[in-house]
């Protein structure tokens, strides 16, 4: 009897052990990846941020807060970065939402083609695409030249201004906004819109009360996906902004390479990470609170 009773239990134990082994085997590579390439570097940056600059540059172990004091006393790149990233995110939303809406609801058979067209630019190097904007916006045969001829003002320029950086940011990160939006809108039940219209809501009211809340998760995901990389953007301000829009990425390059002051750079990097956490946490909190109250009102 005992033998018979224990057999299934042992089987269960074995299978539980096996499933744990499988889980471990599946998680291990990812875990190793994260620890080696995410956690460890972050810890190094954190440790460096309390150090001092060695005589010949680099890092010397110490425990001082000077780097943070200095980082806080020079907040301008932080502020400029937040402003640019916010403007860029809003820009992506303004362009991306109608685009995603169109592809999801109106494109019909051309849906696949349009999605493909969104992906195609990724086949080319980001650097080359950014350089291409030099021509598109430039004074020779680009937008600036066109406006110059039109207005007769030959000082008119787009390149080298924050506007050029903004255009580059929106262009570069647009797909990251469109895809999550597209996915949520594509799964939307169209009959909800019809129901809304049947119940007397106008187009705008339907969009605001039905479509937008449904698209919200995609909107949040897309915003976060574009906001974070925009905060650390370095190439676009350098090329399209002619190095004149000084963002966090540019400040970090100066700290690490030009001044060889790794602790200073690390402190600013930590500041950037904290800032990112706070911004996103606030954003999520804000969005969730909004959603909560709306659900209540619906009830």
């Amino acid at each position: 009897m005992a033998a018979i009773a224990s057999a299934p239990r042992r089987d269960a134990e074995t299978s539980r052990f096996r499933s744990r082994l499988v889980t471990f085997a599946l998680v291990f590579p990812t875990g190793l990846w994260y620890v080696a390439l995410l956690v460890a570097p972050l810890l190094i940056v954190l440790v460096f941020s309390f150090g001092i600059r060695a005589r010949n540059g680099g890092y010397e172990p110490a425990f001082v807060l000077d780097n943070y004091v200095r980082a806080l006393s020079r907040p301008e790149p932080f502020i400029t970065s937040v402003q640019m990233a916010l403007a860029g995110t809003i820009g992506c939303l303004l362009v991306g939402l109608p685009l995603a809406y169109f592809i999801a609801t109106r494109a019909g058979r051309r849906k696949g083609l349009l999605i493909l067209l969104l992906v195609v630019p990724f086949w080319t190097s980001f650097l080359i695409r950014t350089y291409a904007w030099l021509i598109v916006l430039g004074p020779d045969m680009g937008l600036a030249g066109w406006v110059q001829t039109l207005t007769g003002d030959d000082r008119f320029t787009i390149l080298g201004t924050p506007v050029a950086v903004l255009i580059g940011l929106v262009y570069g990160y647009l797909p990251l906004m469109v895809f999550p939006l597209y996915v949520t809108l594509e799964r939307m039940d169209r009959s909800l819109v019809e129901a809304s219209k049947d119940l007397g809501a106008g187009r705008w009211a339907t969009f605001r009360q039905v479509t937008l809340p449904i698209a919200l998760p995609g909107l949040v995901t897309g915003s976060i996906l574009v906001f974070i990389p925009m905060m650390g953007e370095y190439v676009i301000p350098q090329i399209l902004g002619y190095g004149k829009t000084y963002l966090m990425g540019n400040a970090l390059v100066s700290d690490f390479l030009e001044n060889r002051n790794w602790p200073n750079g690390s402190a600013r990097a930590v500041g950037l990470i904290v800032l990112m956490f706070v911004t996103i946490a606030t954003y999520l909190w804000f969005v969730n609170r909004g959603r909560g109250s709306r659900e209540v009102s619906v009830l």
């Binding site: 570097p41 005589r55 200095r70 350098q238 002619y242 190095g243 540019n250 700290d255 690490f256 002051n261």
Partner: protein, 416 residues
């Protein structure tokens, strides 16, 4: 200057790889870290973190296979090395991309029986130091810029040279001897030098600036919105500090404060801060003045230089000069081959070939008679004596926070 055009057509005959390597070698690109710095920074950081890696062999890095044109060595005459210890059959060099003449490389291999001449490249001084800090070894020779020497000596990366084995250093002009970075001349042999100055489009300006003072007035005047500064801190500070008559390496609070005011005054008038593509901006006329280096003269601006529409001037108040140096690494596995190279490269005719090849001024007086007159008479490459007297070597001031703070404020002010 037709000489430039001549060189350009030479370039056109080479294959694309050689052309790209050549472009990458120019001072513009190799002194700047803009485009590549994202990557370079990462790799330097990784290299610095992976010190456990031990000894990466030189062959793991990017290397250029020496091309065999043995005919060139026919002109070689054996003068040195008779009394020297036997030269090893290998030499491992770590250098800027495409920075020595291939003819000379072949001559050297032929004459000293060196079979393997390994040539690995770094993008900037930071990368060289980062690699050495991470424990890279196996190299015999490197070519850092002089202001990095004290740090390399302190860190124990390079060794003292036995000057008796490099008799050809007698040809070195005394202006380049006993300078602050190596007061006893024991750690390096000068390679070549150049300056920071003003690139101009004479066809688009009413006059050519002769001094930093005139440059300053033009930046705020007719060149407003059409002036570019390169990004590197030491070069940017050269302009206000030399204009005011101070040392360009000044770390004096009051002097830097004066320099700060001038920079902030110029900031709204700048078109760009750009070390990579200012040659293009000058070529299209989008920029008419640049605080920069001579690199674009032989590249983007070459056709304009030939038509006397563009040029380069060393400001009369004096300016910064950089000097690249040959050094021997502490653990050089082939010291005899390294000494043979150091002496060989300063033989007058060999050295002249270097100058003709890479268009940077030589510190070697005896070599000048063999340098192409077009190059020798180009004041952008070989400044006249009175200009040389006004030049000042860069010091490593990267640890001064006042300078870096001013630089950051300046960059922000440009954004406006």
């Amino acid at each position: 200057m037709p000489g430039w055009a001549g060189r350009r057509s030479d370039v056109a005959d080479q294959d694309l790889d050689a052309l790209l390597a050549r472009m990458a070698r120019t001072k513009v690109n190799r002194r700047s870290f803009l485009a590549a710095s994202g990557l370079a920074g990462t790799s330097a950081f990784l290299a610095a973190c992976s010190s456990s890696g031990g000894t990466p062999s030189p062959s793991t890095a990017t290397s250029q296979a020496p091309s065999g044109t043995a005919a060139a060595s026919a002109s070689a005459t054996s003068t040195a090395a008779a009394s020297q210890p036997e030269v090893e059959s290998e030499l491992f060099m770590y250098n800027w991309s495409d920075y020595i003449s291939e003819t000379n490389r072949d001559t050297f291999k032929e004459r000293f029986g060196v079979e393997t001449f390994q040539y690995d490249v770094y993008a900037d001084n930071e990368e060289l130091i980062a690699k050495l800090q991470a424990g890279a070894s196996g190299y015999d020779i490197a070519a850092p810029t002089a202001e990095y020497l004290p740090a390399m000596v302190q860190e124990g990366f390079i060794q003292k040279l036995d000057l008796a084995r490099i008799p050809n250093t007698k040809h070195i002009n005394k202006s380049f001897k006993k300078l602050w970075w190596d007061p006893t001349d024991e750690y390096q042999v000068p390679k070549d030098y150049g300056t920071t100055g003003i690139l101009y489009r004479s066809d688009l300006l009413s006059k050519i600036p002769a001094s930093w003072r005139e440059f300053y007035d033009m930046v705020k005047g007719e060149a407003s919105g059409k002036t570019v500064f390169v990004t590197s801190q030491g070069d940017v500070f050269t302009f206000p500090l030399k204009m005011l008559g101070y040392s360009l390496n000044s770390v004096d609070k009051a002097e830097l404060e004066e320099a700060r005011k001038i920079l902030l005054e110029c900031a709204p008038h700048l078109l760009a801060l750009d070390s990579d593509t200012y040659g293009d901006k000058m070529a299209t006329g989008e920029a008419v003045l640049t605080l920069g280096w001579t690199g674009p003269l032989g590249q983007e601006l070459a056709p304009l230089v030939e038509e006397n529409k563009a040029g380069y001037v060393v400001p009369s108040e004096g300016t910064l000069f950089w000097m690249d140096t040959w050094v021997m690494l502490t653990d050089a596995p082939h010291p005899n081959a390294a000494y043979a190279w150091l002496n060989f490269i300063h033989e007058p005719e060999i050295q002249a070939e270097e100058t003709n090849y890479n268009l940077y001024a030589t510190c070697n007086d005896a070599a000048k008679e063999f340098v192409d007159p077009e190059i020798l008479n180009d004041p952008a490459i070989f400044p006249p004596d009175e200009v040389i007297a006004s030049l000042e070597g860069a010091q490593d001031t990267s640890g001064n926070t006042q300078r870096s703070d001013i630089m950051e404020e300046f960059k922000q002010a440009i954004g406006g």
